[in-house]
């Protein structure tokens, strides 16, 4: 690319923009514009009879959507938080092990983390439903061992939904954690040990602070998708644990209420943005790309 500069300075200056142009256009038209349109839709008022919408800067629609769904939103946040914490705890040891002990087989183990993705998560979740059903393998075994009572159920419970979320999003937690641990200089851990720091102290004072950006990225990349998910709840959950994704899906695809669905989506996007912007503010947006 340096040669372009010497031959034609103007083209050289334009090169980055030309290279980025297709992606910028694509992301603008099919990611940014739809989000803006969605927000606009939420602020419009529509005539249910004719289906004609006019912009009325109807900010009340957002607060209406909030007040009618706040219980469900908080529940979804709670489930997503539980699943994310479980995933952080479950995947930290494996990320640590791959980064420091796996040696030349690192790539193989990273691939093994991604392998479940080759089977659509709809199928994976449906299979969990079979495995967890009351006449399925897992509950049967537990009952035969007299570990649970004969009317014990997992399907339909909050536990099933959170477990499903934790299962499906675990790789999103493990990979960013691995990236940040991989960069950690093992000499620092040895130095800490030589200076008589215990394992817990080393973890608290060396590993955690240095991996903070990776942990935060792992948190966001798990928490936000889990927050908006509805497949796990629909397949594994019951009537008492509806999540916000289910409501949005029904508004759009069942009751055809685009303004209502848009308002609720805008709220979900707003909550997600808080997390993303907080990351940018605290850790800088440049490091963001390193963890995905």
């Amino acid at each position: 690319m340096t040669t372009t500069t010497s031959k034609s300075p103007r083209l050289g200056r334009l090169t980055p923009y030309l290279l980025g142009l297709p992606a910028i256009v694509w992301l603008a038209v099919f990611f940014v514009v739809p989000l803006v349109l969605m927000l606009a839709k939420a602020l419009q008022e529509c005539n249910p009879a004719t289906g004609v919408c006019t912009m009325s800067w109807n900010f009340a629609s957002l607060s209406d959507a909030w007040s009618s769904s706040s219980t469900i939103i908080f529940r979804s946040l709670g489930y997503a938080l539980a699943a994310t914490v479980i995933d952080l705890v479950l995947s930290f040891p494996i990320a640590y092990w791959i980064a420091f002990y796996a040696g030349r087989r690192k790539n193989f183990f990273l691939m093994m983390l991604l392998v479940p993705f080759f089977v659509s998560f709809v199928i994976r979740t449906v299979i969990w439903k079979f495995l967890l059903s009351s006449d399925g393998l897992i509950i049967h075994t537990l009952q035969n061992l007299h570990l649970v009572s004969s009317d014990y159920q997992i399907l339909g419970t909050t536990f099933a939904v959170v477990a499903g979320l934790a299962y499906n999003f675990l790789p999103f937690t493990a990979l960013p954690l691995y990236v940040s641990l991989e960069r950690l200089n093992p000499a620092l851990l040895e130095a800490s040990h030589d200076l008589y720091a215990g394992r817990i102290t080393t973890f608290r004072k060396i590993v955690l602070p240095l991996c903070a950006p990776g942990i935060f990225a792992a948190f966001l990349l798990t928490f936000i998708p889990a927050f908006g998910d509805y497949v796990n709840q629909q397949v594994l959950g019951g009537f008492t644990n509806t999540m916000v994704g289910t409501v949005i899906q029904n508004l759009f695809l069942v009751s055809n209420d685009f303004p209502g669905g848009s308002a609720l989506s805008a709220i979900v996007m707003g909550i997600s943005l808080i997390g993303i912007l907080a990351y940018g503010r605290l850790l800088g947006s440049k490091s963001i790309g390193d963890f995905v």
Binding site: R13, T15, Y17, V115, D135
Partner: protein
């Protein structure tokens, strides 16, 4: 870092990987399970081994079409996202500061794109297509799948580009190669493992996707959307056969690209 601790962590890691594979092993195993009576749907009671569902693979109305649609969609969106995403990665890595204004905004958009809840992306795309009266079908699926794959390709290729020795390109230029020749003969082979990894990611994301597809597919149903619809009335056993085929293809592809990148590392 004691060896003993490594052993315990290793044991734990293997157990966790095994846990991740539980539903997949279940799927492969029960794709050989016979159905005794009635309309064939998947049950998890063992009725004896059979190859029937492999022989009658195309017997379910709509399922083979959904499978082929998903494959075509994954290939097409993979190609589009890989080209577009790689070009953006080149721009982002090579041009700092004043030479590329708007970099920060692009970085943030990429992260937002990756982190955004799928339901919001799907719903907003449906809104876009509905307000411009674009009929839902293969085209809308392709446009949508490409947009969520670009960011993944870009970050994967960028990671590879960051460890790249620019002197090689300068040397090619000094030897009289045009920029295009330099790109073809020097840059592209060097970043190829990253491009392949990004392409594989795009392929897998497209095959895996349900939420966005469910919003923008209309009556053209990709495999996961078809399965989700069918799961309410009972899943035909052929779904597990198709799932097994996809899994084995993906696994083979992953092993192949692992072997290729190992060879590439050795040859450098």
């Amino acid at each position: 870092m004691s060896a003993k601790r490594g052993r315990w962590l290793g044991l734990y890691s293997w157990l966790l990987l095994a846990y991740l594979l539980v539903p997949i092993v279940g799927m492969i195993f029960f794709s050989f399970n016979d159905v005794l009576a009635g309309r064939p749907t998947v049950t998890f009671e063992w009725n004896g081994a059979t190859l029937r569902w492999y022989r009658e693979l195309t017997n379910v109305v709509g399922l083979p079409e959904a499978f082929w649609l998903s494959i075509r969609l994954a290939l097409a969106s993979m190609v589009a996202a890989t080209v577009i995403g790689t070009l953006l990665a080149l721009a982002l890595v090579r041009y700092e500061g004043k030479r590329f204004r708007g970099r920060t905004a692009i970085d943030q958009t990429l992260f937002m794109n990756i982190a955004a809840p799928e339901i919001v992306m799907g719903a907003s795309l449906l809104g876009l297509f509905a307000s411009y009266h674009v009929a839902r079908g293969f085209l809308t699926l392709l446009l949508s799948h490409t947009v969520f794959s670009i960011a993944y390709v870009t970050v994967t290729v960028r990671a590879r580009l960051q460890g790249f020795d620019r002197h090689l390109e300068e040397a090619a230029g000094d030897l009289g190669a045009t920029p295009l020749t330099t790109f073809r003969l020097v840059t592209l082979p060097m970043i190829m493992p990253g491009v392949l990894a990004g392409a594989m990611m795009a392929f897998a994301l497209s095959l895996d996707d349900f939420v966005v597809s469910n919003f923008v597919s209309g009556t053209t149903l990709p495999f996961p959307v078809w399965v989700y619809g069918a799961s309410r009335m009972g899943v035909p056993p052929q779904v597990f056969v198709f799932g097994t085929i996809i899994f084995l293809l993906g696994f083979a592809g992953a092993i192949a690209s692992l072997a290729m990148s190992r060879r590439a590392v050795k040859s450098v």
